[in-house]
């Protein structure tokens, strides 16, 4: 599998990462080499094999629905890039029209 420059741009956008124009081709080559390495997986037939997500095949533990955490909002917001009146600030998303 070889990635085209357009595919690299698409993946970068999905990952919300900028790749500058002159890095697109080197990136495409490097990622394609890694994909070729990964595709060694295709040397074995796995049609009948169940995928394994958790090595111990455990069920998710359940707990009762009770409040166990205390309110730490002000502590958490102390390390935020920008807050106002207890809210996290980001650039404007909705235009005033």
């Amino acid at each position: 599998m070889s990635l085209t420059p357009d595919e690299v741009k698409k993946i970068a956008h999905l990952a919300r990462i900028n790749v500058i124009e002159e890095d697109i081709l080197p990136y495409a080559k490097q990622l394609s080499r890694i994909l070729a390495f990964i595709e060694q997986m295709n040397t074995v037939d796995t049609a009948t094999i169940e995928p394994l997500a958790h090595p111990l095949d455990l069920a998710q533990p359940l707990r009762s629905d009770r409040i166990t955490e205390t309110d730490l909002r002000s502590k958490f917001q102390k390390i935020a890039p920008e807050v106002e009146a207890g809210l996290y600030l980001v650039p404007k998303v909705i235009d005033e029209a």
Binding site: N18, Q40, P51, H54, L58
Partner: protein, 485 residues
Amino acid sequence: MHTKTLAELAQALQTKTISSVELTQHYLARIKKYDAQLNSFITVTGDAALNSAALADKQRAENNAGPLTGIPIAQKDIFCTDGTKTSCGSKMLDNFIAPYDATVIQKFNQAGTVMLGKTNMDEFAMGSSNENSFYGPVANPWDLTCVPGGSSGGSTAAIAAGLAPGATGTDTGGSIRQPAALCGISGLKPTYGRVSRYGMVAFASSLDQGGPLAKSAEDLALLLNVMAGFDPRDSTSVNQAVPDYTQTLNQSVEGLRIGLPKEYFTADLNPQMAQLIENAIKVYEKLGAKIQQINLPHTALSAPAYYVIAPAECSSNLARYDGVRYGYRCANPKDLEDMYKRTRTEGFGSEVKRRIMIGTYALSAGYFDAYYLKAQKIRRLICNDFATAFKSVDVILSPSTPTPAFKKGEKANDPISMYLSDIYTIATNLAGLPALSIPAGFVQHLPVGLQLIGNFFAEDLLLNVAHQYQQVTNWHRVMPEAYQS
């Protein structure tokens, strides 16, 4: 003092031949003297360490001390520490003061240990050489021109140079065992679920596992006693009783069945290292163990499967770094999308971005079955290989790495060759099994690691088998000459 093992230091504290304050001052002085050349710490918490040491001495005077009260240790900078920077080796978290303690940190605090500081690491634990840190590479104390391994290379270099008697690490594909091997110390990756991941910055959640690093297997047992245990705050933590790992260290290995996987002794293995592993096998034979060949037929597929699963999970986990709630945010974003993109582009290093890109691709529409699902099926095959092997053997013995420490820069521009430095360690993460690395000799002046892999929750047996080797060999006591005095 720094030539002693953690167990010996604990003994000295207990008999009051030394105080925790003296011990802490000694290690802080060594960090000050040597760490400019090693770069093994990102943050040194000297004042807080001396305060905890004084408290530990008081507890000991009041006969209110546990086995490790007053022991100084270093924490990998991936564990959240309330009030202290937790950078994970990344510019993204350079300004991140964790608002809470990881469970592992809480447990160490309860045990009365003294935190010397937070150790350097590959960014977000992605790397095998510690060259991917925002804070610069770590040097190997055995040869400053060589890498210490990674990603827990700060912790392993600090222990090897006697800047800390023990430390924590995390292991997603070998990040405890590979740097332990390259720095000539002992390190254990526990069974997946044995140590809580709560407050441990996530890389690949189905593989990540925290564990101890120290000079000897006995030291590892003491540290694992503190770290291990069920944690309701980590949904993958396993609710199983924790034995006292020091109690079984002295059992005989007479009759123990040791398996040698044929696939781990191939042409990739440095021949002088193969000889050292051969010598270790002879030591075990002399101790009464029975050696037999085994097969792990899907070994060659573990690295390809790993480099799908780990990047896929990393791309998902690292989506949280968006510049909104904590961590780095780019300057003057023109809109939300620009903020996300420039924050991530400027905040992540190149290897992290590479893995996010691979993972994003593997999980994107139309490719999920071909990559992630396929890799999970391979994962099942690898797990089955081990299950079959453990029907006929008790532990599996192999080299920890294919080569000793390599030069800084040697593999920096070749991701695949870097990925292959973990070929002997990756499979155990995929299978969730415990494994450790202990020193087994030197090739020229560089240390070589011996890996022992056990069945699920067989940490006690692994530590016992490693300890028995260390009772009749001295490799774990050898320190690099420049750091002995």
